[in-house]
């Protein structure tokens, strides 16, 4: 198992770019999967985007990236839709699934493609490989990697452009305890450097350690949008209890 380097988020200071979702509605085959969803993930903060399976989290994240079209409403980054930005990798980096890597392409090859597609220097590939601690397996094909290693490679894909905002959907999946702790520090560093971090996860104890703001979605509608202390509403209430009270899974 490759060792992780000391957490070190990209050092450049980006132009702040809030992620704003406004009245986002998506209807698929007559079923409303997003119903006027509105929230803002702000620069310098880690925003946890929580919800049960099928609540609409991934659909919202894909809509922000323009991978899924909205039926109505808008999703913008820094005031513009994603495809309107000229240097996308510098605006937003995304980890949606660790399986979105060609199984016969090496980690280095994969990141080289992403870098070339955005006009990033070759040095960014080696730098990002080192950042996520996969130097030893950089020339291994993705299909030969464990889920945790592919997750790190996906994180590298999100960070290679040193973006102003990052969207991470279930980034903890497959990570061991050391990598989860490492990711926690990296997320904090990203936010502290002025970046917007939008994070979806089911690991409530982990979210409680890293999140500044909490947005809860259930059955396609926003159920809560508050800072973490406001959401917890008391010193002895855990995020998990408060969340399960809200979505009715207690």
């Amino acid at each position: 198992m490759p060792s992780l380097p000391s957490p070190s988020a990209p050092v450049s200071v980006p132009t702040p770019a809030a992620i704003e979702v406004a009245d986002a509605t998506k209807v698929i085959d007559g079923v409303t999967v997003l119903d006027r969803v509105s929230f803002t993930a702000r620069p310098g903060r880690v925003t946890a985007f929580l919800g049960p399976n099928g609540a609409g989290k991934s659909t919202t994240l894909r809509a922000i990236l323009g991978i899924d079209h909205l039926t109505s409403g808008t999703a913008t980054i820094g005031g513009r839709r994603f495809h309107e930005h000229h240097r996308p990798a510098a605006v937003i980096g995304a980890l949606l699934t660790p399986d979105a890597i060609h199984p016969r392409r090496t980690a280095r090859g994969h990141l080289s493609v992403v870098a070339a597609s955005n006009g990033l220097p070759r040095a960014s590939v080696a730098k990002t490989i080192e950042l996520v601690g996969i130097t030893e397996i950089a020339d291994l094909e993705a299909g030969q990697m464990s889920l945790g290693m592919r997750q790190r490679l996906s994180l590298a894909t999100a960070l290679i452009g040193e973006p102003a905002a990052v969207i991470l959907d279930e980034p903890h999946n497959g990570l061991d305890a050391a990598a989860i702790r490492w990711l926690r520090v990296v997320l904090r560093q990203l936010a502290d450097s002025g970046r917007t971090v939008l994070l979806s996860s089911h690991l409530m104890p982990e979210i409680e350690l890293v999140a500044d703001d909490v947005v809860v979605i259930d059955r396609g509608s926003i159920q809560a949008d508050a800072t973490l202390p406001e959401f917890l509403s008391g010193p002895d209430v855990s995020l998990e209890d408060r969340y399960l009270d809200l979505v009715g899974e207690a």
């Binding site: 699934t97 392409r105 994969h110």
Partner: protein
């Protein structure tokens, strides 16, 4: 567009299987031509270049299937999610993909055609066959680019390697196979399909009059390219219109 194109070329370069598929497509034409020439299958009026082009249909099927498979693989391997979040402008992404696949197929088919020429030249008695026109070999490259663009579009439209490859094979072979059902349209449809276009450029007498494009060979080549461009545009519109991942 330039950076997106570089990324698409790197995609091809960084997966060994894609290179192997391309190499197999490139080898198909010289291998078939070798078999025909070595077995005495060339008629006295055939030239070395027309002999080299006898295996072109196998090559075209290979290039079309390669492009279809590479493109549909973006869906089956879920890499389209990363592709569209890296190059979010779908017209730029799709244009870069079509150009990258076409440039690669052009280079490979040119090498394939030259190799086929060399093979036929080596195995046939030099006194019995004229060298022929190099335009024949260039027509193979043009047809390969056309079927590659069609393959990319088929990959986007079907999102399935099997379906995309089948679509390409049907588009290449069906016009000649179903020629009898086309009635008066037969020379217009068959004459502008990839295989007969090359045969018309070769200029030999293998093709019946009702499979020869009425306005002439240059128009047949132009029509093939226009049809391929039209199909490629349909693929691009589908990608822009629907959800990408």
């Amino acid at each position: 567009m330039r950076t997106a194109l570089r990324g698409e070329l790197l995609k091809i370069a960084t997966v060994r299987g894609q290179w192997i598929g391309l190499a197999l497509a490139a080898v198909a034409m010289p291998m078939t031509s070798l078999l025909v020439a070595a077995s005495g299958g060339l008629s006295p009026e055939d030239t070395v270049t027309s002999g080299a082009a006898t295996g072109s249909l196998a090559g075209l099927l290979g290039f079309g299937a390669w492009a279809a498979s590479v493109t549909a693989g973006e869906y089956s391997h879920q890499t389209m999610v990363v592709s569209l979040s890296t190059v979010p402008r779908r017209t730029v992404f799709y244009g870069a993909k079509v150009i990258a696949a076409s440039l690669t197929a052009a280079a490979a088919s040119l090498a394939s055609a030259v190799l086929a020429f060399a093979v036929v030249y080596a195995v046939t008695p030099h006194s019995s066959h004229r060298v022929g026109s190099p335009a024949t070999l260039l027509s193979v490259v043009v047809a390969a680019v056309a079927v590659t663009a069609i393959g990319v579009a088929a990959g986007v439209l079907t999102r399935s390697s099997a379906a995309a490859i089948t679509a390409v094979v049907v588009l290449i072979l069906l016009p000649q196979t179903a020629a009898g059902l086309l009635g008066g349209l037969q020379p217009w449809v068959v004459g502008a399909s990839p295989g007969p276009v090359i045969t018309q450029v070769v200029g030999n007498s293998q093709l019946d009059a009702d499979q020869t494009y009425p306005p002439g060979t240059a128009a047949a080549v132009a029509t093939l390219l226009a049809a391929a461009a039209g199909i490629a545009v349909v693929g691009g519109c589908a990608l822009v219109r629907r959800d990408g991942g």
